[in-house]
Each structure stands twice: as structure tokens, then as C-alpha cells.
């Protein structure tokens, strides 16, 4: 079957979208989390809560506007478009998780770096980031998992070229002939990497997922 030989392409799309959005998200979120963790203002908690609350909006409610904007920007069925969407929908969680991990880093150390003559950028690159590696890694993993499993936006904003595995699996969602064998194979392949990643990161994930409330 022809689409089945495209499996590789769907995997590639999934990989590009999951990793791309995660890296882009980290790039935006690390500075934001830095400022919230180490230079908090009175409104920081509110901003964080607001970010989280954007996750509560039902996506169908805004599907059409997004679809129209994507059409106008020529982003429909492009990896770029999906990377942007995945970045945005996961950004609150990324910021939150990083914020949680950063909070656990003693501010002293950053101040020490500052005393040692590091500029802000160097402080983040040489001191904060390496120290937060476990936290950043688990944030990264969780986001890859979420982006990998996301099915609503991927399904509605892609056609052929940029469709990731989730969209591909959706084409099986009604039984047909040898349906079970195929679905099992396809979904196993889609799930396996995520399971492995998930297993390795579960301990870190808990801290991040619970915003440090549970350690």
C-alpha cells in the first residue's frame, strides 16, 4: 500500500515537529523562566497562572480563526506552521516547568557569577543552563511527548506534506480489512519511542509536572 511506504515521512514529520517545537519553546521559555524565577515582581505568580489558564481553552473554539490565519500566512500543511502551533500550545507548560526547576537553583550562584564578571547572557549560558540540565531535559522530554501525541491541531492543519504520525494513525481509526494488525503495528511504532523516553524521565517529570509541589 502506497501510504504505508510513506511511514518514514510521517515519522520524520513527527520528529521535526516534536523536536522543533520543543527547542523553539525552550529558546523562548528559558529567558522567561529566568526572569520569573530570579527577578520576580508582584505580578509574576499571576502571569504564570494566566499562562496556565490559556491551556484550559478548548481548542475547537479557536480552530477556525487559526485555520484562516494559517491559510493567509501560507502555513497550512507546513512543518513550520505546526512547529509554531505546538510551541505555542506547550509554551505555558514549558515556562512553568522551567520556572519550577529554576526556583530550586539558589540565587546565590547566579549572583556569584555576576560578581565573577559574567554578563546576563553568559550567566544563563554558562551557569544557569548547565545547572538546570536535568530539569531542562525533562521539560524537553515531556514536550516532545506532548507534541508527539497531539492529535487535534496536527489533524486539522495538515494534509499530506507535513502530516505527522498522529494524522497517519487517524487514517486507521475505522476498522477495515486487516485493520487490527496494521493499527497495532502503526501505533506500537508511534508509541515505542515515547514510552522509552517517558520511562527514563519519569522521576524528573513528576517534579516538573507538579510545578515542584511534589518532589
Amino acid at each position: 500500500m502506497q501510504t504505508r511506504s510513506d511511514y518514514g515521512r510521517h515519522v520524520m514529520n513527527s520528529v521535526v515537529i516534536a523536536f522543533g517545537s520543543t527547542f523553539l519553546g525552550l529558546l523562548i521559555a528559558i529567558p522567561a523562566a529566568w526572569s520569573m524565577a530570579f527577578a520576580p515582581t508582584k505580578r509574576t505568580k499571576d502571569v504564570l497562572m494566566w499562562m496556565l489558564s490559556t491551556k484550559m481553552l478548548p481548542p475547537v473554539g479557536v480552530l477556525l480563526p487559526i485555520y484562516l490565519m494559517f491559510r493567509d500566512f501560507g502555513l497550512l500543511d507546513t512543518r513550520t506552521g505546526l512547529v509554531v502551533v505546538m510551541t505555542l500550545i506547550n509554551l505555558p507548560i514549558i515556562v512553568w516547568m522551567l520556572y519550577t526547576y529554576f526556583k530550586e537553583i539558589p540565587g546565590d550562584i547566579l549572583e556569584a557569577a555576576r560578581m565573577d564578571g559574567a554578563s546576563l547572557a553568559k550567566e544563563i549560558v554558562y551557569v544557569l543552563t548547565p545547572m538546570a540540565i536535568p530539569g531542562i531535559a525533562s521539560t524537553l522530554l515531556l514536550n516532545i511527548i506532548m507534541a508527539w501525541n497531539e492529535a487535534f491541531w496536527t489533524l486539522n492543519l495538515t494534509a499530506a506534506k507535513a502530516a505527522p504520525l498522529t494524522a497517519f494513525i487517524a487514517s486507521y481509526s475505522s476498522p477495515e480489512g486487516l485493520f487490527w494488525a496494521k493499527l497495532s503495528a502503526a501505533s506500537t511504532l508511534a508509541i515505542a519511542p515515547i514510552l522509552i523516553i517517558g520511562w527514563f524521565s519519569q522521576k524528573q517529570l513528576v517534579r516538573g509536572l507538579t510545578f515542584g509541589a511534589v518532589k
Binding site: 523562548i28 505568580k45 497562572m49 489558564s53 478548548p58 473554539g61 490565519m69 501505533s187 519519569q202 509541589a213
Partner: protein
């Protein structure tokens, strides 16, 4: 930590994230708001006109709306109750050392990482199917009449499926919380004469309270918009028995292509989500700001703690 210089830099650095999210929220939302007062059906272009709150009144008086609202709340509540009770039980089990713990943990956690559509399909066709499903087979081999879960108890079945997916999450978090319970506290209770049950009620459960609130918060966020599981298993039926708000809006948007109506529905859903969020975030936000329970004793003799706490609280 806070010279003028760093504060300015901080503002600059958090700007991209905040601006992007603001755009992501406000632009589509205002478009949705705009659409919601139009007669706007995708299939009938050129007929858009302003109709005021008609879409809202149609959506809110839709007989499906009330059941969708109840179903949404039942779904969120039911799943939360099941996952927390089950999660506590599983966490207690997994906390005991036993052979093959690693494997069991992996198995327990696995459902969380499975795509919702796939797991719903598995439940529908392999487990709950009244003819081919595992449960039917079990019922038949016990001489019972197989039960048609998705037709007879659609909402309960969906709650079960969703709970199955979220149980690992709750378990994982509760287990971690459980393991953070100070060993000395348990020993103190033991010396004070507490047995297993007393220890659970008086020491363990209160210790888990914070983790439980977190589970409630996170699950609510995601459960308010459960969709794939319903689409795959019951399509919201029979009747409206398993239609939740998200699914109802979906039906408006992508079955009827009634953009106006769906937008009104979307706004209603947003408002509802915000009401829930408001209460939840109040509850949890307070809890998150309070000192964590498992580290309640900053060594009083370390003079750094008061001043650093003073700084971070500002």
C-alpha cells in the same frame, strides 16, 4: 537579586513568551468573539450578517447544552475521583519493595504516554466490544450476558477509559509524594503507637493532600477538553449521553460548519473553563505558595533562610 539593571533585563527576557501567548490567546479569541455574533456558515458563504446574540441563545437553549454541561462536570469529577482513589492505592502498593518493581512501574505508567485515540480504540474494540471484546468474552465464559458498555453506560465507559489514561499520572505523582514522606515522621508515629491504618489516615493522607490538589489542577486542565476519546468511541451518543461541551462545539464547528454557532459555543466553553480555572487556581495557587509540607523545617539556626525568603516573596 534585583538591581534596576537586572529587572529591566528580566522584563525584556520574559517579553517574547508573554507577547506570543497574548497573541495566541487574544487574536483567535477576538476573531471567535466576532464570529460569534455573525450568521456564518462555512457552507453558505456570502450570507454573513450580524445577528447579535442569537447564536448564544441558540447554543444555550440547545437541549444538548445542559446534558453536555453535566456530562463535562461528571467526566472531570468522575475521572478525578477514580484516579485519586486508584492512584493512592497503587502508590501504596508500588511503594512496597517487591520483585519486578521496575517492570510493574513501567506497565503502570505506560498508558499515560499512549495517544488518546489509540487507547480509546483499544478499549472500544478489544475490551468493551459486546461481541468481540475481552469483557464480553469473560462474561460469556462466566455464563453471563455480555454488557454493551458504550451503549448502555456511555459516559461511565468513557470515564473509565479516560481514568485509565490518567491513573498513571496520578499514581506517579502520589507515589513520589509518598516517597518524600519523612521516614522519621513515620517512625515517630510508630513510637506514638499508630498502626498501619492510623498511620495512613493521620500521617500519610494529610501528607498527600498537596499532591492531590496538584493532580486535581492538572487533570482538570486537560479533562475539560477531552475530545478524542469521545469521538472515537461513542460520537457523543447515544442521544447526548456522552456529549461534553468540547464535543458539542466540535459538532457545531465541524459537522454543521456553523462557524457562528460554534464560535458562540467556544466562547461559552471558554467562560466555563475560566470559571473552573478561577476556583481551581485560587485553591491551588494558595496551596502552591504555602511552604511545601515535606520540607517544613528550614533549620531555624541557619540565618540565611529568613532573608532569602524575604527576597523571594517580594
Amino acid at each position: 537579586m534585583a538591581t534596576l539593571h537586572t529587572r529591566a533585563a528580566a522584563r525584556l527576557m520574559s517579553a517574547p513568551a508573554i507577547i506570543l501567548l497574548l497573541c495566541w490567546m487574544i487574536v483567535p479569541l477576538s476573531m471567535t468573539l466576532y464570529f460569534s455574533v455573525l450568521r456564518y456558515n462555512l457552507l453558505m458563504p456570502g450570507m454573513e450578517e450580524y445577528i447579535g446574540f442569537q447564536n448564544y441563545s441558540y447554543f444555550l437553549t440547545d437541549p444538548a447544552f445542559l446534558s453536555a454541561l453535566t456530562n463535562t462536570l461528571l467526566l472531570v469529577g468522575g475521572v478525578i475521583v477514580i484516579t485519586i482513589v486508584g492512584g493512592v492505592a497503587l502508590a501504596l502498593l508500588l511503594d512496597q519493595p517487591f520483585f519486578g518493581q521496575g517492570i510493574v512501574r513501567l506497565l503502570v505508567i505506560a498508558p499515560f504516554f499512549v495517544m488518546p485515540t489509540v487507547s480509546a480504540l483499544v478499549w472500544k474494540n478489544m475490551l468493551m466490544h459486546p461481541v468481540n471484546g475481552l469483557f464480553a468474552w469473560i462474561a460469556k465464559s462466566l455464563g453471563l450476558q455480555p454488557y454493551d458498555f458504550l451503549a448502555q453506560a456511555p459516559l461511565a465507559s468513557i470515564i473509565a477509559i479516560v481514568a485509565w489514561q490518567w491513573l498513571p499520572f496520578a499514581t506517579l505523582i502520589l507515589l513520589t509524594a509518598l516517597q518524600s514522606l519523612d521516614e522519621e515522621q513515620k517512625e515517630a508515629a510508630e513510637m506514638d503507637g499508630a498502626g498501619f491504618v492510623s498511620k495512613f489516615i493521620w500521617i500519610v493522607l494529610p501528607h498527600l493532600a498537596r499532591a492531590i490538589t496538584v493532580v486535581i489542577l492538572i487533570e482538570t486542565i486537560f479533562l475539560l477538553s477531552v475530545f478524542a476519546e469521545i469521538l472515537v468511541t461513542t460520537n457523543g451518543g447515544p442521544g447526548y449521553a456522552s456529549t461534553n461541551i468540547t464535543y458539542l462545539v466540535y459538532a457545531q464547528a465541524l459537522l454543521q460548519f456553523d462557524v457562528g454557532g460554534a464560535s458562540a459555543g467556544g466562547i461559552v466553553a471558554v467562560v466555563l473553563a475560566n470559571i473552573v480555572a478561577f476556583f481551581l487556581i485560587r485553591l491551588i495557587g494558595k496551596n502552591l505558595e504555602a511552604e511545601p509540607w515535606h520540607a517544613p523545617f528550614p533549620p531555624a539556626g541557619r540565618p540565611s533562610s529568613p532573608s532569602s525568603a524575604g527576597r523571594s516573596a517580594s
